[in-house]
């Protein structure tokens, strides 16, 4: 079966809500999900919770989630909460 990659741009104004929306609509048919973080300069605790939830759900549905364009400050914050191992990262 051909792998389908779904791409979604995340805006800094509402990172958590956007991720929750993605998590709520995860479809097992999608083999890969790419979230474009290139517009996100900073994340907040809510976004961390949303990403944690997304990581759990995507794992349950065997969907690979790739975060694209994550800046170093955000990457470090994700590293400190042990989230980097649960996503793939592409610049």
């Amino acid at each position: 079966m051909e792998a389908i990659a779904v791409r979604r741009k995340i805006e800094e104004s509402d990172v958590a809500a956007a991720i929750r929306d993605v998590a709520a609509h995860l479809d097992s048919a999608d083999r890969e999900l790419v979230l474009d973080f290139s517009s996100v300069g900073r994340i907040d605790p809510d976004a961390v919770c949303a990403l944690d939830d997304l990581a759990r759900r995507s794992n349950d549905k065997s969907i690979k989630v790739t975060l694209h364009g994550v800046n170093l400050d955000v990457y470090k914050a994700l590293k400190l909460v042990n989230l980097t191992s649960r996503f793939s990262f592409v610049n």
Partner: protein, 886 residues
């Protein structure tokens, strides 16, 4: 859940989760998760953002200071509300004043002169225990410190101060979050237990424990295996010395000891008063509202406020007013009594009131002498307060310093109140704090007033430093034929010519004499023509002293010039210990033993070499032989360099051919080794390269045509030029091996160098098994420098490898032309004998300082290999080179 893995880790350790329900663990995990996330998010914040939040928190804390003080007194029933307001204000305003302009985000300090940059890294989640005695001020202070440093804190307040501490934490949290701090940055445990604390203290996600509390809490923190900041117990001794301003001292002690009813652990506990002022001091205390207990009252006080079983203060007395304590124990005192003063006669369990008393009861001791006073203060400090705080009132700076040196206390407060003085920033320039580090004496890791810098990991970005280098040679070098005539310009009352018998006999000394101004008295000192011994040096120094010489002229080879250098050293600085000065060193600028700079007399040293090899006329080295112990003492210091060098070839025209060859190859080895040395610089390179060119061109001529003046002149100059290079860049492994070989088998130095030279070039040109640390060089360049030499000599070759091979071949050809032996075997040394000698020679060579500037770090096995290559000689080198090239 993010922290679930960490929780599982602890759940697998039953002792940590004992007494905790699954719900409780989930509660604690949730706090941790929020705190950890907040700390992670906080790493994205800028200094400006942090500072804005801090300012808002400080203002909120100031506004709520009276409210929190009231709350603390109501809940804990300890202390004085008015004083707690002050504490809260110090914890906010004074702390802010100290930190407001301090950088705590990103680069916090640049030290350009050391090429260092300090960068702040937050700690993460801090688990903080707070005390009953300062329950709100401590929380306010720690919250401000944590935000300033971008950390999250979980508080575990003292159970009897939970409500006020939690309220302080909430006020800080609300102000912080309102101004942008991440959610969850502070949390306060609800009605917690020791099991909660144990769980959190061992949790993977807690980065630091900050325990401000009793000894139990501090011990638990330090026992957790986590990095911890703890405070130690106090028992502040005060020395009231007779020169003190009594009015100031008495008021300061009363205000300090009664501040918040004595709950600050830095407050005064026992005042040791000089006999001369004892009665008047107690009179002043009484005048200002203290009650002086008589013997019976003191006994009563001791029985009631100190637990006779444990020897520690009774909790019921902590933070209570003096008048209330007096009423409670049935002591009749005047209304408004501020302080109970109890005279004691000693320190220890038999004197119960000599321990810490966090209430307004003060012990006093009459000291008959300064020594007795200091001893008692030391005893008090060691009776439960090592490392904490000590106080002295005195105008005698010597005694103040003595007190400071004697007492082990993180804070030694001078002529000011102990408690407020220790808090910092009010009476002195100590860093404001609510946590007193007590050093190892108090079981802590620091003696500091705990502050923002203890809440940071400070990273140091260290750029590669290009250490300054040098090029030092005598400032006057005269060369070419008849250069000796330059001696005329050096005025001298008395000159001693140090030389050997041969040179005196063959008329060289007369040549020198003729050039010395006629008004100079000249004495000739003939020494043996061998490496100088201590006896010859001492005789030389005696001669110099006898004639009060102001000039030494060294005429001879390396041994004579070396002897003259050491004579000058001992003549000018008789205290110089030659053995000590010969101590090994790695870097000339960091050597442990320094050469003497104080001189009792001065003498100019003029060196006139009579061989063309050692270059001793310009080097800072001298070798002394200790025949008794069978060893050599090598001295190295630029102060040994001659003041003037006269490189006149007329003194070498009569050199025997073999000496021309040996010394010429020594010169070539100096140039080649300094050329590839780790200490080489453009300044030494130009000398080394020029010397190499001159040796290859003129040495064969000087050897084959002993009367050729130009060739000898050029070789004489080449030796001096090569010496200028190695004086500043040093030599290398060739010399280390040659020294060992020469010492073991009596092989002349130049000849020993020759036997090893082709092998060492091949060795240094290959990829090292081990690189030598070398801040002066950019990468490994030895092979390229050999290739440059080959280019200079016009040896041909297109690749570096070919050029190196050509240089080795040219060197071998030169050695052949000079008739030098090409293998150690040729010297008549049997293989068995050599085999027996190799281990010792390797040991000697490895201990030789010469190789420390070699571009390649020699392994012991490699030194042995080099010896064997030199033993078998020609052919082995060719094989080695072809192997490397392949």
């Amino acid at each position: 859940m993010i922290a679930s893995e960490a929780a599982q880790e602890l759940i697998r350790t039953p002792s940590v989760t004992d007494g905790l329900s699954a719900e409780r663990i989930a509660y604690l995990e949730n706090l941790l998760r929020r705190a950890k996330t907040a700390a992670a998010i906080f790493t994205q914040f800028t200094q400006d953002e942090v500072d804005r939040i801090v300012k808002a928190m400080v203002l909120a804390g100031l506004e709520k200071s009276p409210y929190l003080a009231q709350l603390a007194v109501e809940e804990t029933r300890l202390g004085v509300m008015e004083d707690k307001v002050i504490k809260n204000m110090v914890a906010t305003e004074f702390a802010y004043h100290y930190i407001k302009d301090k950088r705590t985000v990103g680069v916090i300090r640049e030290i350009p002169e050391r090429n260092l940059i300090e960068i702040a890294e937050p700690i993460g989640v801090i688990f903080s225990l707070t005390p009953i005695t300062n329950p709100t001020s401590t929380v306010l202070f720690k919250c401000i410190m944590a935000i300033k440093t971008r950390n999250a804190v979980i508080f575990s307040p003292h159970p009897k101060a939970w409500r006020c501490s939690a309220e302080a934490s909430k006020i800080m949290y609300d102000a912080a979050v309102k101004h942008g701090a991440p959610d969850g940055v502070f949390a306060c445990l609800e009605s917690h237990t020791l099991e909660d604390n144990a769980y959190l203290m061992r949790h993977r996600d807690v980065a630091l424990i900050d325990a401000t509390g009793g000894p139990g809490a501090v011990k638990a923190a330090y026992s957790s295996g986590k990095p911890a900041l703890g405070v130690g117990p106090g028992n502040t001794p005060v020395y009231l010395e007779k020169s003190a301003n009594l009015n100031t001292a008495v008021v300061d002690i009363i205000l300090s000891k009664t501040f918040d009813n004595g709950t600050i652990c830095a407050s005064e506990q026992t005042v040791v008063i000089d006999d001369e002022i004892y009665d008047s001091t107690l009179g002043k205390f009484a005048e200002l509202g203290a009650h002086i207990c008589n013997e019976q009252e003191t006994k009563l006080l001791a029985r009631t406020v100190i637990d006779p079983q444990t020897g520690f203060m009774q909790p019921m007395a902590i933070g209570q007013k003096a008048s209330d304590i007096a009423r409670f124990i049935g002591l009749a005192v005047k209304p408004g009594t501020k302080l109970l003063i109890a005279p004691i006669q000693g320190v220890g369990r038999e004197h119960p009131l000599s321990v810490e008393k966090l209430f307004p009861v003060l012990a006093v001791y009459r000291a008959k002498s300064v020594d007795e006073a200091l001893r008692v203060c030391l005893d008090v400090s060691h009776a439960g307060g090592i490392g904490h705080t000590a106080v002295i009132f005195s105008r005698n700076d010597e005694i103040i310093r003595k007190f400071g040196e004697l007492i082990n206390a993180g804070r030694i407060i001078v002529n000011s109140p102990g408690s407020i003085g220790a808090l910092g920033a009010v009476y002195n320039d100590l860093v404001p704090t609510f946590a007193f580090g007590c050093g190892t004496g108090g079981g802590n890791s620091t003696t500091d007033n705990v502050n923002i810098y203890h809440y940071l990991n400070i990273k140091r970005l260290a750029r590669r430093t290009q250490n300054h280098m040098w090029f030092r040679v005598p400032n006057q070098i005269y060369f070419n034929m008849n250069a000796v005539e330059n001696l005329r310009q050096f005025a001298s009352r008395c000159s001693v010519v140090v030389t050997n018998a041969v040179l005196e006999k063959n008329g060289h000394v007369d040549l020198v004499r003729r050039s010395i101004p006629p008004e100079t008295h000249v004495h000739v000192l003939v020494i043996p023509d061998a490496e100088p011994e201590a006896k010859a040096i001492l005789q030389g120094v005696e001669t110099l002293n006898f004639y009060k010489a102001d000039q030494i002229i060294a005429l001879g080879g390396g041994s004579v010039i070396d002897a003259a250098k050491i004579m000058k050293l001992k003549y000018e600085s008789p205290q110089a210990d030659l053995e000590e000065l010969a101590a090994p060193f790695l870097d000339l600028r960091k050597r442990v033993v320094q050469y003497p700079t104080e001189k009792v007399t001065h003498a100019r040293l003029i060196a006139i070499p009579t061989t063309s090899g050692t270059g001793s006329e310009v080097t800072p080295f001298a070798v002394l032989t200790d025949k008794k112990r069978g060893c050599k003492i090598t001295l190295a210091d630029y102060s040994l360099s001659p003041d003037v060098a006269i490189v006149d070839p007329q003194f070498v025209m009569s050199m025997p051919k073999n000496l021309t060859a040996d010394t010429g190859i020594d010169c070539l080895t100096h140039a080649l080794e300094s050329g590839v040395s780790n200490y080489a610089s453009p300044y030494t390179d130009c000398s080394a390269m020029q010397a190499i060119r001159m040796v290859f061109k003129y040495l064969p001529i000087a050897y084959e045509q002993p009367d050729d003046e130009e060739a000898h002149c050029m070789m004489h100059n080449a030796a001096c030029i090569a010496a200028m290079a190695f004086s500043n860049a040093s030599v290398g492994v060739n010399h280390a091996l040659a020294h060992a070989l020469g010492a073991r088998f009596g092989v002349a130095h130049g000849r020993a160098n020759a036997l090893l030279l082709p092998h060492v070039i091949a060795y240094n040109a290959a990829v090292p098994a081990k690189f030598m640390p070398s801040p002066y060089q950019q990468g490994y360049v030895a092979h390229k420098k050999y290739a440059t030499v080959a280019d200079l000599l016009g040896l041909g070759g297109t690749t570096v490898e070919e050029k190196v091979a050509n240089l080795i071949a040219a060197t071998e050809k030169l050695l052949d032309r000079l008739g030098l032996p090409r293998s150690i075997e040729e010297l008549g040394i049997s293989k068995q004998e050599f085999e027996r000698a190799v281990p010792d020679m390797v040991k000697t060579a490895f201990g030789d300082p010469s190789w420390r500037s070699n571009p390649r770090m020699p392994l012991v096995t490699e030194l042995a290999e080099l010896f064997w290559k030199a033993y078998y000689g020609r052919g082995v080198t060719k094989m080695a080179v072809s192997k490397q090239t392949a």
